[in-house]
């Protein structure tokens, strides 16, 4: 094979109770974008971590430009010209944006770090990539999307031969993704080999030259992207035929009675500094989507309803009754559930087992003195592991050792278990593979059919169009419009998001 710059042979990796990789081969050519595909838990991230020395190499070999290498740590990997963006944003929240970009390779003047240069170069780097962030700002104060972009910026700025991107696009919106792709193509043209992990099939076909598919820790095969039709790719990933474009909405008629008392009726709810007062009504059986650009305040809107950030203005009516929500538990008691956007920070309780992570919300609702019996817990856990096909060694496995997508499924299970009347899903499909994504969308519609009210947030407009019966549009912390029925199409949504030239806060209601 010509121009192979990185080759992995016979890679295996075992975790207690899981064979994450068995005898996987992988080859990356110079100047190609190579997609690494597979379901949640297929072993993509593990392969990357073995490659970059986060995990020890248990067997097999890695050659780079014909030379055998062993990376004992990401530091080694970087020295060998491999730079990586890992799946979860892995930066330091207590350092500034600029520092995160340059730490470990700071420009120096003599012995000292040249902070001016750091800031200047950061500014330039951020500007080049169109990232709106001040280099002097603390990273922890930036939204995840920005953090994600910064992680990418850090990786691409290093003169690398191999760039690895593990689901970099999961929290980016289309604009950002487009920016990233331009960048990736440029790097490819400069001869960098790129490994790209994603669950978005369109993206794969948009930028990738070749595709390697993993399933259950085993290599399925490597293919030219042009020679592998989409349906076949999915089939290879899942090991069975599957049509991800199935019109899942059919069979779910919209039976929402818009005149009934809304389950949730927010009037003038707002939270200073994040979301301006807004009105929002959600009815039984309805899936309402929130859309807007990055940072438009979708998450903030639902956080204010749920009491994650206590609303400081307006009133909330639940089933027509005025209620006061001071803390999330109040909302839960009123039948709400909230799947947060930032899985790592607000979702998983890392050291607890899958079982405990699933039952924790229900247990909190029941109160301290009504401990669920072990049997109840086990049954609940097993039911959802089965239902959502969560890939885990056992229900007692700590959630932190699950793959990213499977962690997300556990959090979804947590909220389904509480059987809420009103469920808020903020990016529920982030990092979830195609098969399951469809399952989740179906689930959402099923729940609506059962008479639950749902608010759904996703960066994928496609996905929203498939599930939502109504959409609210946000811009800069204001709710700027609401669309339903025929208006639910890409063009109209885009128009509303962009807004008219002069109207900042017109209300389409």
């Amino acid at each position: 094979m010509e121009d192979v710059i990185l080759e992995m042979k016979n890679i295996s990796k075992t975790f207690p109770g899981v064979k994450a990789l068995s005898n996987v081969d992988f080859a990356l050519r110079k100047g190609e974008i190579h997609a690494l595909m597979g379901e949640n838990g297929a072993g993509k991230s593990t392969l990357i971590k073995v490659l970059t020395g986060v995990y020890d190499l248990e067997g097999g070999s890695i050659t780079m430009a014909g030379k055998n290498i062993v990376n004992h740590s990401p530091e080694d990997a970087q020295k060998n010209g491999i730079s990586t963006v890992y799946q979860e944003v892995n930066l330091c929240p207590n350092l500034t944006v600029g520092e995160n970009l340059f730490i470990g390779r700071e420009p120096r003047k003599g012995l000292f770090i040249d902070w001016n240069a750091v800031n200047k170069r950061s500014k330039k780097l951020l500007d080049d990539l169109n990232i709106e962030a001040n280099p002097k700002k603390l990273l922890g104060d930036c939204s995840i999307a920005v953090q994600q972009m910064i992680a990418i910026a850090r990786a691409v700025d290093q003169n690398c031969k191999v760039l690895i991107l593990d689901e970099p696009t999961s929290s980016l919106d289309d604009d950002e993704v487009a920016k990233l792709f331009t960048l990736m193509r440029k790097l490819r043209d400069n001869g960098v080999g790129i490994i790209f992990v994603t669950h978005f099939l369109e993206q794969v076909y948009e930028v990738c030259d070749r595709i390697t598919v993993l399933r259950n820790g085993e290599l399925v095969g490597s293919y030219e992207a042009s020679e592998l039709p989409r349906v076949q790719l999915v089939a290879k990933m899942m090991g069975k035929n599957f049509d991800d474009l199935a019109d899942i909405k059919s069979g779910h008629e919209n039976k929402v009675d818009m005149n009934s008392t809304p389950v949730i009726d927010a009037r003038g709810i707002g939270h200073t500094g994040t979301i301006h007062p807004f009105d929002l009504a959600v009815h039984k059986g309805e899936v309402i989507g929130l859309t807007g650009l990055l940072g438009a305040g979708r998450s903030e809107m639902v956080r204010a309803i749920y009491g994650a950030d206590k609303a400081d203005s307006g009133q909330l009516y639940v089933n027509g009754k005025k209620v006061k929500i001071n803390k999330p538990l109040d909302a839960m008691m009123l039948g709400m559930g909230y799947l947060p956007e930032d899985r790592k920070k607000d979702g998983i309780i890392a050291d607890l087992s899958v079982r405990e992570n699933i039952i924790i919300a229900l247990q909190a609702k029941k109160g301290m003195f009504h401990l669920m019996s072990r049997k109840e817990m086990d049954e609940a856990a097993d039911k959802f592991i089965d239902l959502l096909q969560i890939k885990t060694a056992s229900r007692e496995t700590p959630i932190k050792s699950l793959s990213g997508g499977n962690q997300q499924k556990v959090i979804i299970a947590r909220w389904l278990l509480t059987n809420p009347d009103y469920l808020i899903l903020d990016e529920p499909t982030r990092g979830i593979d195609v098969g399951t994504k469809t399952e989740i969308q179906k689930l959402v519609l099923d729940l609506a059919d059962q008479g639950k009210a749902i608010t759904f947030i996703s960066s994928e407009i496609e996905e929203m169009l498939r599930t939502c019966s109504r959409m609210a549009v946000l811009r800069d912390g204001y709710k700027v419009g609401e669309l339903s029925g025929d208006q639910l199409n890409q063009a109209d949504i885009m128009k509303t998001i962009a807004g008219s030239e002069n109207g900042g806060s017109e209300n389409a209601k």
């Binding site: 947060p340 920070k345 309780i349 607890l352 924790i360 247990q363 909190a364 401990l371």
Partner: protein, 348 residues
């Protein structure tokens, strides 16, 4: 063969395995040094022997370790004021019993009432710590530093700077023996504390809540847990238990010695938690581990006394044993050993 091995590995990976091994190791060391170490006899109508000493003398430490485990799990920090809080509880209890006298051989009020008041005041101290940590988000070690310094001062204020003696025989019961029962009372107190705590952990969701809050506070809040309240509660429990330990310690010497009751015990309690395999950074905890850890420390102290190690060198031995224990407990070290033995097998 296969199943044998997996059974063995299941045992060795059980959470309590290492703490128990360490305790046994310390005890075995004793038998070599002091052959009579395990001898238990009835002397003067009571049980008598080094083993009894360990279990008896370890009681206060066990009680403290229980509270310390909860605090550590919930807040990822330690309460270093427990020793001083013990002194406060003892001072209040004794002053109430002597009716403000320096020495008394009668009781100014029923022991149970005085003891409960003492314990409640200790709980109040815990509440103070809890407020600082949970509500004001002050780092635990610093928040509890306040009572660590002030506690003995308060105790002295209560006892007017002198040791208060309550010489009524009934006050000696808690730290001594109940009637003709040959088993020292502190053992019962410790066992009851442990049982009650185990029941609470088994029958309520406290344990799960505490772990959850300790691992990820913001996620816990979003699933409806009141992390402020939970942290606060653990500190109150820790305070109450410190109070109980203080009263037991005071009863042993039928007096309140503000300067010395529980002196340096906070460090031992923290050590017990760590030896029990718990992460001092909070999160998942193992109560039985801490209790075994506490007895391990007491076994060590008693053993060194039994071997007549001179007191000034005692900390050196203690340090060495502690390091050995934590090193063999360390997963990294165990992995290394496992790898080495695997390699040796492969060679053979």
């Amino acid at each position: 063969m296969q199943s044998n091995q997996s059974k063995w590995s299941r045992i060795t990976h059980a959470p309590l395995f290492m703490p128990i091994v360490c305790l046994i190791a310390v005890l075995v060391l004793n038998v070599i040094q002091t052959p009579t170490f395990f001898k238990i006899s009835i002397n003067n109508g009571v049980l008598y022997g080094y083993l009894i000493d360990i279990i008896n003398r370890g009681s206060e430490l066990v009680i403290l370790a229980v509270g310390m485990t909860l605090v550590t799990a919930a807040s990822g920090g330690q309460d270093i004021s427990v020793g001083a809080v013990m002194a406060v509880a003892a001072a209040i209890c004794c002053q109430l019993l002597t009716g403000g006298q320096k020495t008394s051989s009668t009781l100014a009020m029923p022991i149970i009432v005085a003891a409960i008041i003492g314990i409640l005041v200790a709980g109040l101290c815990g509440a103070f710590n809890g407020f600082l940590v949970a509500n004001l988000h002050i780092q635990p070690m610093v928040a509890t530093l306040i009572l660590f310094t002030a506690g003995r001062g308060i105790a002295q204020l209560v006892t007017k700077g002198q040791i208060t003696y309550e010489r009524a025989p009934s006050y000696k019961v808690l730290g001594g023996y109940i009637g003709k029962c040959p088993v020292p009372t502190p053992i019962f107190v410790a066992i009851i504390t442990v049982i009650v705590m185990q029941l609470i952990l088994k029958k309520t969701a406290l344990g799960l809540y505490v772990e959850s809050v300790g691992i990820n506070g913001s996620a816990s809040r979003l699933v409806g847990l009141n992390s402020t309240m939970l942290k606060f509660i653990t500190y109150v429990i820790c305070g109450l238990l410190a109070g109980l330990a203080g009263i037991v310690a005071s009863s042993r010497i039928y007096s309140a010695d503000a300067n010395n009751i529980g002196l340096n015990l906070e460090m031992d309690a923290i050590l017990a938690v760590a030896l029990g395999g718990n992460n001092l950074g909070g999160g998942k905890f193992n109560m039985m581990g801490s209790i075994i850890g506490a007895y391990t420390i007491q076994a060590l102290t008693t053993s060194l006394y039994a071997m007549n190690v001179s007191a000034d060198q005692l900390p050196v031995y203690k340090a060495i044993v502690v390091v050995i224990i934590v090193v063999i407990q360390s997963p990294v070290f165990r992995d290394k050993i496992a790898n080495a033995s695997k390699k040796r097998k492969a060679v053979a």
